[in-house]
């Protein structure tokens, strides 16, 4: 095209000259003949029909020849590109494959590419030559980063050659200049097969439903999607090595198990004797990622040990830590979070960090279980749910092993941020009877390692010597993808900011611990509980299949502090809110043990949300006659915000969550909360 233009420019003055010359000739002949010819040739392009003079013909020939030459040149270049591209693909194909299946999938991938570049070659050759010189210079032009899927496919032609070195991904990732065109090249590269990561050969390059994170929310979403979209293909990508599992037993039931092999089996016996695994489903429930694209009825595939490091929202695709790319139609981010650490420990030496556990995953449970059997003293820093539950669990063990269990926290009592002060104090006494040494109002100043022991120095001067530390000081929501995806992060609560329907952007939803969502009743919040992960995961799955429902069914949570005391709660349960507690005396029948025996389930939210009618109503086994001399045996505590009940705790009162949920949903101002408390029938079983 450029050549044509330059040639044309050269010819233009000649062309004009020729036309004027032509006219002059005619006029002269006209004058001579005293008769004008039929029409005076008006000045026009010399590419018009040749008139008069061999010069014109020469010009026409010249121009024609040049155009033809240009056409031949561009055609050759494009063909050459395609030839080189095909050569390259053949070369990649010839690399050793694992199975023939891979070869067929790669061939399938190439097949659409080849006709695409051919299609490009045939229409106006002039237009296809700019991509060629562009490719040569490997210019990282922003304009060549089209969001649509079809055009990138034609790019791989010239794009392929921009890769400085062929096979290895690090090299491909290393060429930053070609970054925009890189993804397109990568798509075909990953499909074509790579030397380095053999498994990625067979990975699907597209998943209709992509779930990032393999925890509770993700599994609930997968189940929801499969129930609503028949034949759905769901791919879960998790950086953990395990299939989706539930977390609550890791700090409760698994510790109470009598089975010495519990760290391997991860099975726990519920109070009614029924055993189950912490895994939501056994491996046979899932299909392998390789089977996903071809499975007749779809399925759920879990890709373990892979982390999503980059998200391209415009292109609807993600990149894994091994540079594999997976495109999606709908995506769920359920990345959960990472346990927070104390700053003083983070800055401390390696010897301190080695003796510190941040508890969240199965591996943490296994290692803590092992450690707790060998050491003499363990300290838990943190007085919230996790810290208190672990303290009680380890305290139980201490009865047999003589392990010293210490728990320290800045508040005055256990669950100080959740329970009103009187109840928090009562709970702390309960935890003490489980065998835990409580150090309250403790602010950690420094932690050092001295002679194989840890020395924790508190700000008020107290010194605590221990062998191992468990830091249970909160969860940092994982928002690693926010930057690359351009998603908003909430500054108040942390986590990805999503709307009431858990949507961050079109085709992107967030659920579970990482979601800061808008609760229509209770306002914007972020909830880190198991049932919320289930409820929000389910909702996200529903919305990914077109339901468009907001967060409405209020999730609940529960905690057990030893087998004799437990509570269920719903809504905003913040100890800084004014509360009204209505209590009755507890009897032996009002314990979590009895509650689960009755409902036939071990996980209390299960008994609520699953509503399995066939639950075995076990004949009430005679529970040990434990009399509670305390005042707060059982009751209901209402948390108020502007005179409206926004949170409720059912204290040693079970299976009444639907009533509590209803009260929160109504959002009414009740003049006498004692009347509301009557609805719970706290004196009955």
């Amino acid at each position: 095209m450029l050549k044509c233009r330059t040639v044309w420019r050269k010819l233009a003055p000649l062309a004009r000259a020729s036309s004027t010359l032509c006219r002059q000739n005619v006029k002269r002949t006209g004058l001579h003949n005293a008769r004008l010819p039929a029409h005076v040739p008006t000045a026009h392009m010399a590419t018009g029909p040749a008139r008069g003079g061999g010069e014109n013909q020469l010009y026409v020939l010249l121009v024609g020849a040049t155009c033809l030459g240009g056409a031949i040149y561009t055609y050759r270049t494009v063909k050459g590109d395609q030839h080189r591209y095909e050569e390259r693909i053949a070369e990649i194909e010839s690399r050793p494959h694992r199975s023939t299946k891979e070869a067929t999938t790669t061939v399938q991938m190439e097949a659409p590419d080849v006709p695409e570049s051919e299609a490009q070659a045939t229409p106006s050759p002039e237009e296809s030559s700019p991509p060629a010189p562009d490719a040569e210079t490997a210019a990282p032009s922003e304009t060549t980063e089209p969001p649509q899927e079809p055009s990138p496919l034609s790019e791989p032609g010239p794009g392929e050659q921009t890769d400085p070195s062929p096979a290895t991904e690090p090299a491909a990732a290393g060429s930053p200049a070609a970054e925009p065109s890189e993804p397109q090249a990568d798509v075909t590269e990953s499909a074509a097969g790579l030397d380095t990561a053999q498994p990625s050969l067979t990975l699907p390059s597209h998943a209709p439903y992509l779930l990032i994170g393999g925890g509770t929310a993700s599994f609930a979403a997968a189940r929801s999607i499969r129930a609503r979209d028949p034949g759905a293909r769901v791919l879960i990508v998790t950086d953990e090595p395990d299939l989706p599992y539930m977390r609550p037993p890791l700090s409760k039931e698994l510790w109470f198990s009598d089975d010495p092999a519990v760290t391997d089996t991860l099975r726990f016996k519920q109070w009614n004797g029924k055993e189950r695994s912490i895994y939501f489903q056994p491996p046979s429930f899932y299909i392998t990622p390789e089977e996903l694209s071809n499975a007749e009825n779809g399925g759920v595939a879990v890709l373990t040990g892979k982390k999503v490091v980059h998200m391209d929202v415009r292109g609807n695709k993600v990149k894994l830590d091994d540079d594999t790319e997976i495109s999606y139609d709908k995506c769920l981010i359920a990345t959960g979070g990472v346990p927070r650490n104390l700053q003083v420990i983070d800055r401390a030496g390696e010897d301190v960090k080695q003796r510190t556990t941040l508890f969240r995953k199965i591996d943490d449970f296994r290692s803590l279980d092992k450690i707790s059997r060998t050491i003499k003293s363990i300290t838990i820093i943190g007085g919230g749910f996790l810290g208190s539950e672990l303290a009680c669990a380890l305290g139980r063990r201490s009865h047999d092993s003589g392990l010293e269990v210490i728990q320290m926290f800045p508040e005055k009592g256990n669950m100080g941020k959740v329970l009103p002060e009187y109840l928090s104090n009562w709970t702390t006494e309960k935890v003490k009877t489980e065998g835990v040494k409580i150090i309250s109002e403790a602010l950690v100043k420094s932690v050092t390692c001295n002679e194989d022991q840890l020395e924790i120095k508190l700000k008020d001067g107290r010194l605590v010597k221990t062998d191992h530390v468990v830091a249970a000081v909160g969860l940092e929501p994982n928002v690693d993808l926010a930057k690359s995806a351009g998603l908003e992060v909430d500054s108040d609560f942390g986590g990805y900011r999503v709307n009431a329907e858990l949507q961050a952007r079109s085709n992107i939803w967030v659920a579970g611990d990482a979601a800061c969502f808008y609760d229509i009743r209770l306002g914007r919040r972020r909830v880190e509980h198991h049932d919320h992960a289930v409820v929000s995961g389910r909702l996200a799955g529903e919305n990914m299949t077109g339901a468009n429902k907001p967060y409405w069914h209020q999730s609940m949570f529960w905690s057990d502090l030893g087998p004799d005391v437990g509570y269920e709660a719903i809504g905003i349960v913040d100890s800084s809110l004014p509360t009204v507690g209505v209590f009755a005396k507890a009897t032996a029948k009002d314990t979590p043990k009895a509650a689960t025996e009755k409902s036939g389930t071990g996980i209390r939210s299960e008994s609520e949300t699953e509503a399995v009618a066939s639950s075995a109503v076990a004949s009430p086994t005679p529970a040990p006659a434990v009399m509670h001399k305390d005042d707060y045996g059982k009751g209901v505590i209402f948390y108020l915000r502007d005179k409206v009940v926004v949170g409720i705790i059912l204290w040693n009162v079970f299976n009444r969550m639907p009533i509590a949920r209803k009260i929160i949903k109504d959002g009414e101002e009740h003049a006498d909360l004692n009347e509301v408390a009557k609805l719970f029938n706290i004196h009955e079983d």
């Binding site: 429930f285 399925g299 529903e542 507690g581 009755a584 004196h683």
Partner: protein, 150 residues
């Protein structure tokens, strides 16, 4: 008699059984059964089956989900005298599928499969029965519910 005390912003009330004998006069707002936001039971207001009902556990979403849905849909829409009697082959497909995944769908005695049509005729009522997989698929009994329930 009830006893009340205040600790700062927190109010504590102790009540006896007698105190709570009188019915409550607290007013609750009537629920709208057609509220689209609410969690639905097994049967949706328009008569369709809610495959996402927690009561189904993982039945509709597992590897045999497609067969389960076919069988149960057929049963649900069955107008026969013995409800679901024309759906035998669907149930058979489902059972065959479930037999391939004994881990997920623990097998019980085979004679249960012949009891299925009779068992199915029982829970056909207007209100949503919290459906147990047992009522629908003989082999997959309540242990499966416990297993597949998350």
């Amino acid at each position: 008699m009830s006893y009340c005390r205040q600790e700062g912003k927190d109010r504590i009330v102790f009540v006896t059984k007698e105190d709570h004998e009188a019915p409550s006069n607290a007013e609750l707002i009537a629920d709208d059964p057609h509220d689209p936001y609410e969690e639905q039971g097994l049967i949706l207001p328009n008569g369709d089956i809610n495959w996402n009902c927690p009561c189904l556990g993982g039945m509709a979403s597992g590897p045999c989900g497609a067969q389960f849905k076919e069988a149960f849909s057929c049963f649900h829409s069955s107008q026969e005298e013995v409800k679901g009697s024309e759906c035998i082959h669907h149930f058979r497909n489902m059972q065959e599928c479930m037999q391939r995944y004994p881990e997920l769908y623990p097998q019980e005695e085979d004679h249960e499969s012949s009891d299925r049509p009779e068992a199915n005729s029982a829970p056909d009522s207007a209100e949503d029965p919290p459906l147990t997989p047992q009522a629908v698929a003989g082999p997959a009994g309540s242990p499966a519910a416990g297993q597949t329930a998350s």
